[in-house]
Symmetry: C2
Subunit: 204 residues, 2 copies
């Protein structure tokens, strides 16, 4: 079983890269699907689940989910239960034994024993802003200032969540097999380049 | 003209990767050759030049090398003149217009206007120690403890020199096109994978 995990900066194109990699390699692809599965299991709204998992710093949620853990308030209890569910779903994906690409969710740390090929995707700040502006023009109505603010908030939270879940530093190049800067690439071309690189890793 | 620059952690195999990449792509290769050229020009011993450029923190050497600069002591004057010579030699390499791989020397920053493909090579600590131990067994007689100490000292100095020359943070993944972790790879196989990736970048 071959597994690729993708951590990414907001606006770097990491999600598109993951999708295209899965298509090129013929792997299963998991991203939003994990949120959908958690929402279904917990009978909660998908958008609520997504915001809760991405938007919070999780500073007070414990690293291990033991039965003895007593959350000090309702909000914490919900968050903890979402994290536990997410962990279960990611472990179930691994149990299928099928080749896959998983975007986000610190899957590389949760499935460390499976030794996934770990990718971190970043880009220069201006390139990320431009990518977000293009996307915003189609589906959202955000100003440049709002995009920069979103970018900083989301990446800060991703870093905090990673630190909490895994103790590692988000974006520290030594934590990954490959760090790819998408600046100057069409993601389509980059995906082909990365698929070739990964195929060499698998064959080695 | 295609140019690849390689920054690397001590013991990561970055030098071997650079040599193999140059061979695979048919590019010129520069590493030790730069030291040799500086030594010849300055009529100094190669080992002295190498140690002076790698082993010092350069904290007090100015960023720009203006004629008005007056070194406050002899040692500083020699260092500055080595740095100036190194910069000249790297610029001369670029002027040849030939495709090349340059290892170390912050060539990515010195030749930023040529937009080289910038690679940073790292590895897990234990993998680096093992690589150094294997090398030490052949040509040097260093203990594990001495190797770890060398590794820390050299990487610390590389980080300081980079900060001084370029203001950037050494090993910050956003500073490079690609960060490659060599852990788990034979450098020969990795070089083939990286050459394929870079060929996609050139063709894009």
């Amino acid at each position: 079983m071959n597994m690729i995990t993708i951590s990414r900066e907001f606006g770097s194109g990491g999600r598109e890269l993951g999708k295209r990699l899965a298509d090129l390699l013929g792997y299963d692809y998991y991203d939003r699907e994990i949120i959908t599965a958690i929402a279904a299991k917990k009978e909660l709204d998908e958008n609520y689940v997504e915001k809760a998992l991405e938007g919070r710093a999780w500073q007070t949620v414990p690293l291990t989910f033991r039965q003895s853990f007593s959350p000090i308030n309702m909000e914490q209890a919900v968050y903890t239960s979402l994290l536990v569910e997410q962990k279960k779903i990611i472990e179930e994906i691994a149990k299928t034994g099928r080749d896959c690409v998983i975007v986000g969710r610190n899957a590389d740390k949760l499935l460390a024993d499976k030794n996934p090929f770990r990718i971190f995707v970043c880009a220069e700040k201006e390139a990320k802003i431009q990518r977000c502006l293009e996307r915003a023009g189609k589906t959202e109505h955000l100003t440049r200032k709002e995009i920069i603010s979103n970018m900083q908030r989301i990446d800060k939270n991703r870093a905090k969540i990673r630190e909490m879940v895994a103790g590692g530093k988000w974006g520290d190049c030594r934590e990954y097999h490959l760090v790819i800067n998408t600046t100057g690439w069409e993601i389509k071309d980059l995906a082909a380049a990365a698929a070739g690189f990964i195929s060499c890793w698998i064959r080695r």
